[in-house]
Each structure stands twice: as structure tokens, then as C-alpha cells.
């Protein structure tokens, strides 16, 4: 494969990694605060639907984005109420949210548009368009760096840049601000936060809500940037992959970028080399399709050590039994 091919592969990886990255960072906030979230998938799906539905209804993708975030926030709030206020089981709550989103998106979609749960196709301002970075066309001919800038970095929807920017922002928030210190502390030892005079409940809600916002962006990216409308179940397991990436990344922002880019790259490779002959023997398509997952397991087993989750993760904060 030539250099341009590599660039295109990376380009594809970046697009595929973006929703994973957003969801992964979302999960990172939540889980760093001690709230496990297997409902990323459902929140993403709900946001995908509402962003597309509202964008199609209003004709504005920005209003759509807001609606998507709003929908994701509502589900996040349910997760918060269940797992923080009522100290329920976080896994059950997440499972419920996933079911709820797959059901409600279609039920509402059908009642709204009568298109079998789909939304109308989005056009023009109802979609996120690709952005060309400054001078992209001018520098394209510079060897190597030109294509990297013009074809790999440039030409994505704004949400891709938002997602990328969120990596250092997340790092900075977590490790350089008061809020981040408290957030991390509440995921490790909520009693320490509580006795330091900070509200455990407040912090955890904040984290869950940030998670809602980020998964909201992820969902909107799927429906209004990568595609042009909602199709039922269109999150297609990406929330779970994001969760895997989060564990892979050991709950760290920069690692999250690495992990999701790796997943993106593996998928892009799988797409690109779906039919491959090895020494004249054709490899089954299905093997190539499973390859990203196989490689994930191999990498995990071979190179990534034990991942230690936030210590108070998954457990509700109970002072009095």
C-alpha cells in the first residue's frame, strides 16, 4: 500500500474512532467518579435518534445536537437517580437504559415520522459538514506533510476536532483542577470526599451528567455527521466497544485516545482488507471481519497488564446500613 493509502486508512480510523473516543471519555468521567456505566450504548442511541429527529424537524443540526445531548442527559439522569440517589445496582441500571433506548427510539420515531423508526434523511444545514482546515488545499502538494495535513487532519466534521480537543481538556480537568481532584477522589474513596466537606452525591451527579453530554455528542456524531439520519440500533455495539477501550486505556484520557484510535485502525484495516489472499489461499471474509476483535484480545493479553478500576467503582456510597 502506498503512502496515500496509509493516509486514507488513518483518515478512516479517525472517523471510526471519534464516536468511540467521545463515549470512552464519557465513560471515563463517570467511572472515575465511581459510577460504572454500561449504558453508554443506550445513551448514544437515544442521542443519535433525537439529534437526527430534531435536526430534520428544525433543519438545524445545532439544535439537533442540543436535542441529542438533552436526550442523553435524561437517560444519564435516570442512571444517576437509580445508582446515586437510590443506590441501586449500576449494572442493572445500565442494562435497563440500553433496552429503554432501543425501544423508545423506535416507538417514538414511528409515532413521529411513521418511517418504521427511521428519521427522514438529513440534508444541508441539518447535517454536520466536513470542515477544510486553513491552507489544506495549498499545502496538499508538500511531500508527506501535505497529505497528512490535508487528507488526514483536514476534512472532518467539527465534532471530530471537538473529540480530539476533549482529550487534553479531560486530562487537564481531571488532573489540574479542583473539580478533577474531587472527582477522582470520589471514585477512589467517597468517604474521604464526604469528610472533607464535599458532597459525594453532587460530584457523582456532575460526573454522570458530563458523561451524558459526551455520549450525547457521540450519538449526534453518528447520526448527523457520519450518516444522515437515524436508523434503528445504529449505535451497533459501539458503546460496548467504547467500554472495552476504557478498560484498555486504564481509565486515562491519553490512553483513551490511543485505545480508541487503535480500535478505529483495526476496524479500518478490517474494512480495507476484507478480502485477502495469503499465499494464494483466500482468507474468509468473516475471519477478516473478526480480526479487529481477535487482535484486541491478543493485544490485551500480550501487552496490557492488569487494569485496576477506580476502587469505589460500581459500589453505591452507603454510610448507614
Amino acid at each position: 500500500m502506498d503512502f496515500l493509502g496509509v493516509i486514507q486508512l488513518l483518515d478512516s480510523s479517525l472517523r471510526l474512532a471519534t464516536p468511540l473516543l467521545l463515549a470512552c471519555l464519557a465513560g471515563l468521567f463517570s467511572e472515575r467518579a465511581g459510577i460504572f456505566d454500561i449504558g453508554l450504548e443506550g445513551k448514544m442511541l437515544a442521542s443519535a435518534f433525537f439529534s437526527a429527529a430534531v435536526a430534520s424537524y428544525t433543519g438545524s443540526v445545532w439544535i439537533g445536537l442540543m436535542a441529542g445531548i438533552g436526550a442523553s442527559l435524561v437517560l444519564a439522569a435516570i442512571h444517576g437517580v437509580a445508582s446515586i440517589t437510590f443506590r441501586g445496582n449500576q449494572l442493572i441500571s445500565g442494562v435497563a437504559i440500553n433496552f429503554l433506548a432501543s425501544g423508545l427510539t423506535v416507538v417514538i420515531g414511528e409515532a413521529w415520522f411513521s418511517l418504521g423508526g427511521r428519521t427522514p434523511q438529513l440534508e444541508g444545514a441539518a447535517r454536520f459538514q466536513e470542515i477544510t482546515l486553513p491552507f489544506a488545499n495549498a499545502v496538499r502538494d508538500v511531500p508527506y506533510l501535505g497529505p497528512i495535513y490535508a487528507d488526514f487532519l483536514s476534512g472532518h466534521s467539527i465534532l471530530v476536532y471537538v473529540a480530539l480537543a476533549l482529550v487534553p481538556i479531560t486530562w487537564w480537568v481531571l488532573f489540574r483542577t479542583r473539580f478533577g481532584l474531587r472527582l477522582r477522589a470520589v471514585g477512589e474513596n467517597p468517604a474521604a470526599v464526604d469528610t472533607a466537606g464535599v458532597s459525594v452525591v453532587g460530584l457523582r451527579y456532575a460526573a454522570v451528567m458530563i458523561c451524558g453530554v459526551l455520549t450525547g455528542i457521540a450519538g449526534a456524531y453518528l447520526a448527523t455527521a457520519l450518516s444522515a439520519g437515524f436508523v434503528k440500533e445504529m449505535s451497533a455495539g459501539r458503546g460496548f466497544i467504547a467500554l472495552a477501550a476504557l478498560i484498555f486505556a486504564k481509565w486515562r484520557p491519553w490512553y483513551a485516545l490511543g485505545a480508541t484510535l487503535l480500535f478505529g485502525l483495526l476496524e479500518a484495516l478490517g474494512n480495507r482488507f476484507q478480502s485477502l489472499d495469503l499465499f494464494g489461499i483466500p482468507i474468509p471474509t468473516q475471519f477478516m471481519q473478526a480480526l479487529p476483535y481477535i487482535l484486541t484480545v491478543v493485544i490485551l493479553a500480550g501487552f496490557v497488564g492488569r487494569a485496576i478500576p477506580p476502587r469505589a467503582g460500581g459500589e453505591p456510597y452507603v454510610k448507614e446500613r
Binding site: R176, R178, L181, E188, N189, A192, R311
Partner: protein, 510 residues
């Protein structure tokens, strides 16, 4: 309104579900004094103080601070009212640095940097003022418990607490450290701060407090001036009956060597060497006490002897060397060699808290043919066994169907002891036999240990309570930093000497 009162509590009651932890408690604490609170385990001391600190909310009652009625809905309110508290179980974020823990919740602005710098400076000053050195950048879990406690105190001082509550602070300290702490507390008192000290050690109460309140079963039974009372009276107030504060025992008659350990080394999973070449022997019919501040390798020693840490060196039991590195080296094979083990942390290791008493009575011995047929467990055999042991060890309530978590700490310990002792082992490892156990039960447990010794068992006793080590041991070895600093006979040593050894100071160095 009495301006001289730092704190007044009136009619505080608090129930945890069916447990009434505090019942209509009133107490007054004078400004600029050290006020002790003493009481058996579960008497409600921690609960009361946690209410004052806003950690729990009382069901009823009022709090007055500096004479003013104050609502304390959460810890922030308590901090604002000038209260600081060092909890019995530290409230530290283990993988944060000291500085991060100190500023947590008391940061100056949205960004950490200025707060960290300020805290670093202040920490240095506090360290100078009170001789409390801690590396500000150390990670909490790398610190010893004593250091961790300093961090807790520094946290309170950083928040400019006027009233400092310490809940069982000395349990984790060497005598020297405890003395140091007391000097600090006295210094603080002399600066006009008010200190509330919870402890179950009568000696400390007598040594440092100005007044003392006694709690029993959720109620405040008395408040007296320390100068006007005696340990015996306090003990009686606590328990409600006369108690024996000494252990009666005859001199040991050691027999054959049961355990020999040579050059034992253990490296933990973070690659820190925890045991750095331990040599020791124990004979039948004697108690070897291991003194030391916790975190100096005692746990690792018990773990490798008990079969669940890996290391290098030689361990011989009854003259036969046992495998300590291979895959067959586990707790099961140790038990088969006649080693029984009462672990330091009964709730984490010794018991499955959700298992019923009868299930716990076979824990570790569950592959004994008496308890199972290879496939099925003989639950009825376990139950019979449990009823029997509960009776002989006076476990209360004697209900084999109660889950371990529903027994009080002392009774949990009795269940573990019953299980391990009754196996008739050659060697008994005992870690912290009376931690969190009240005076009444301590008496019983100590008698059991002495009786076992008199039956000719070899006993390795690890305890951070020097009193206990002194009272029970026939020989005392002091551990510091993974090494044995020296061995003493209890009759020929004293707390001062042991305290120095515990701090790593040998005579030649001193």
C-alpha cells in the same frame, strides 16, 4: 450561653436500622482541654463523634459550638465551625499524594496549582512546629499507618481546626510515636485548641486527658475529671462489671522446636522487599511475640507462614522443610502440616462476612472429609460443629445461622479462634488477636491463648499492642522494616526499650 464550652451536645440519639447506636446523649467539653471518651467496642463513641463532625445525622438532639446552637448537616458545616476529625478508619485517598489529600475539599480556587504550593509551604511549617515530617509528594499507600495518621492530623490543621477529634489514634503507633502524638496534642491544647480523644486504652486516658466521659451501649454513663478517677473504676463503668486487667500465667516449659525459619524473604507485587531475611525458631509450649508497628513485615511473615505469599528462604515445621515457592505451596498444604492461622484482619481474610456462622466454622478446613464427601458439603456436620464451638467459646448470640457480619467484632474473633484452635494444630499463627475487641472479650481470648500454650503448642503472636505482647509472650521479637531488630525476654525488657527497637533503633546505634 457558656463561653467556656467548646462543644455541648444535648440529647443526641441515633439509630442504624434496628441498632440504637446513641441514645439521648449529652456531653459538654470545655475549651482548651483534652477530653477523653472511653467505652467498649460498639458503645457508640465513633457514632457520636461522627455526628458532631457531620458525617452522620442525628435522629434527634442539638449541637452547640462555642455556646451557639449550630446545625451540622454535613462535614462542611463542621469544618466551618472549626471542627477537625481523624477517623478510626482513615478517610484518605490511597493513591493520591499527601498534598492532594491535604488540600482535598479545601482548595483555594478552581485550579490546583496554587493550592498545592500553599499546602506545601504550610505543611513544611506545620512539620517544623509540631515535628511532624511527611513527604508531601509520597503516595498514601506507600506510607506507614503512623505517617498516614499524620496526614489526617495535618488535614485538620490545614483547615485551621479549633476542635480536634481523634478516634482511636494510638492503635497504629509505636509507644514513642504515641508519646510524640500526645506531646503534639498537649501543645495544641496549650495553644487553646480543644481536643477530643477516643480510645479504649485506659492508660492513655489517665496519661493525657483532663476529663473523661464513659459510654456504654449507646448511652453516656458518666463524665468525670481524670484526676478524680482510676483505671479500675473506668473499666467497671465501661463494662458494667469488674474486669481482670492482667493475664495470669505460669512460666513456659518449652519443648521441641516446632518452627524454624531461615533467611525468609518476600517481595511484594510492587517489587518492594517486605521481608529482608527473617530467622526465628519457636518451640512447643511457648509464645513468641512479634512486636512492631504495623506495616513492618508482620503481615507478610504471617502470610508466607500461612501459605499465601510467595518468597524465598527455608521454613521447617517439626524438622521437615516445607515448599514455599512451588505451585503446591498454599494455605491448604500449610494446614495439612499442622499450622493454624488466626489472621490479622478477620473481616477481610478470616471470615466470609456474608457466610453464616456455620459456614465460616469450616472455612479453610472445608476439604476435611468430616465436612464433605468430596463433592457435597455436610452442612449438618458443620452446623453441629458450630453449635458446639459457639458454646465452648461463648459466642453470642449462639446462633449458627446468623451471618458473620451480624456478629460483633469480638464475637467474630471468637468464631475464628474457635475454628483455628480446635483443629489442635502444632503451630498457631495469631495476628492481632484482640484488635477491635472489647475488654471483656480480650480477657477470654488471652486466657485461651495461654491455655493453648500450656497444652504444648507453639504460638506465633503478632500484635501492635505492646501491652498484649508483654502480657502473653514468653519471648519477644521486634520487627522493623522487614527485619528482626532483636529478641528480648519480657521479664528483662520494658516498653521503652521495645519502643526504640520498633522504631528501628538498636542499642549500638542509640
Amino acid at each position: 450561653m457558656d463561653e467556656t464550652l467548646a462543644i455541648e451536645l444535648r440529647g443526641i440519639s441515633k439509630a442504624f436500622g434496628p441498632v440504637q447506636a446513641n441514645k439521648d446523649i449529652s456531653i459538654q467539653v470545655k475549651r482548651g482541654t483534652i477530653h477523653g471518651i472511653i467505652g467498649e467496642n460498639g458503645a457508640g463513641k465513633s457514632t457520636l463523634m461522627s455526628i458532631l463532625y457531620g458525617f452522620y445525622r442525628a435522629d434527634s438532639g442539638e449541637v452547640f459550638i462555642g455556646g451557639k446552637k449550630t446545625e451540622i448537616p454535613d462535614s462542611q458545616a463542621a469544618i466551618d465551625a472549626g471542627i477537625g476529625m481523624v477517623f478510626q478508619h482513615f478517610k484518605l485517598v490511597e493513591n493520591f499524594t499527601v498534598l492532594e489529600n491535604v488540600i482535598l475539599g479545601a482548595e483555594d480556587g478552581r485550579l490546583l496549582k496554587p493550592s498545592l504550593a500553599k499546602a506545601r509551604k504550610l505543611l513544611k511549617k506545620l512539620a517544623d512546629d509540631y515535628e511532624m515530617d511527611v513527604d508531601p509528594d509520597a503516595i498514601i499507600e506507600d506510607l506507614g499507618v503512623g505517617q498516614q495518621q499524620r496526614v489526617e492530623i495535618l488535614k485538620a490543621l490545614y483547615r485551621e481546626a479549633d476542635i480536634l477529634i481523634l478516634d482511636e489514634p494510638t492503635g497504629v503507633l509505636t509507644p514513642a510515636e504515641a508519646d510524640h502524638l500526645f506531646r503534639i496534642l498537649k501543645g495544641l491544647r496549650d495553644e487553646g485548641k480543644t481536643i477530643i480523644l477516643i480510645t479504649h486504652k485506659l492508660r492513655e486516658i489517665m496519661e493525657i486527658t483532663d476529663t473523661v466521659s464513659v459510654m456504654r451501649r449507646g448511652e453516656m454513663t458518666a463524665t468525670v475529671k481524670t484526676a478524680e478517677t482510676s483505671p479500675e473504676q473506668l473499666a467497671e463503668l465501661m463494662v458494667g462489671r469488674k474486669v481482670l486487667l492482667r493475664v495470669d500465667k505460669t512460666p513456659a516449659t518449652p519443648g521441641a522446636v516446632v518452627l524454624e525459619v531461615e533467611n525468609l524473604r518476600v517481595v511484594d507485587d510492587r517489587n518492594v522487599e517486605r521481608l529482608r531475611g527473617i530467622d526465628l525458631t519457636i518451640r512447643a509450649g511457648e509464645v513468641l511475640g512479634i512486636a512492631g508497628v504495623s506495616g513492618n513485615g508482620q503481615s507478610e511473615l504471617l502470610e508466607i507462614l500461612g501459605g499465601y505469599a510467595k518468597g524465598t528462604g527455608v521454613i521447617r515445621v517439626n524438622g521437615q522443610q516445607i515448599d514455599i515457592t512451588g505451585s503446591a505451596s498454599d494455605a491448604r498444604t500449610r494446614r495439612a502440616r499442622g499450622i493454624a492461622h488466626v489472621p490479622e484482619d478477620r473481616q477481610r481474610e478470616g471470615l466470609i462476612m456474608d457466610y453464616r456462622a456455620w459456614e465460616n466454622i469450616g472455612f479453610g478446613y472445608h476439604d476435611d472429609p468430616k465436612f464433605n464427601s468430596g463433592l457435597l458439603m455436610h452442612n449438618s456436620a458443620l452446623k453441629t460443629d458450630c453449635v458446639d464451638k459457639m458454646e465452648r467459646f461463648d459466642v453470642r448470640p449462639p446462633d449458627p445461622n446468623l451471618a458473620a457480619k451480624n456478629f460483633s467484632g469480638g464475637n467474630q474473633q471468637k468464631i475464628v479462634l474457635a475454628r483455628e484452635i480446635e483443629r489442635n494444630p502444632d503451630l498457631l499463627l495469631i495476628g492481632q488477636p484482640t484488635r477491635g475487641v472489647d475488654i471483656g472479650a480480650i480477657e477470654f481470648i488471652h486466657q485461651q491463648i495461654v491455655a493453648l500454650r500450656d497444652q504444648g503448642k507453639a504460638i506465633l503472636l503478632v500484635s501492635v499492642e505492646l501491652d498484649e505482647i508483654m502480657a502473653l509472650s514468653d519471648r519477644i521479637a521486634v520487627m522493623f522494616d522487614g527485619r528482626i531488630m532483636g529478641e528480648r525476654l519480657p521479664s528483662e525488657t520494658n516498653q521503652g526499650e521495645l519502643g526504640l527497637l520498633m522504631a528501628g533503633i538498636t542499642e549500638d546505634a542509640a
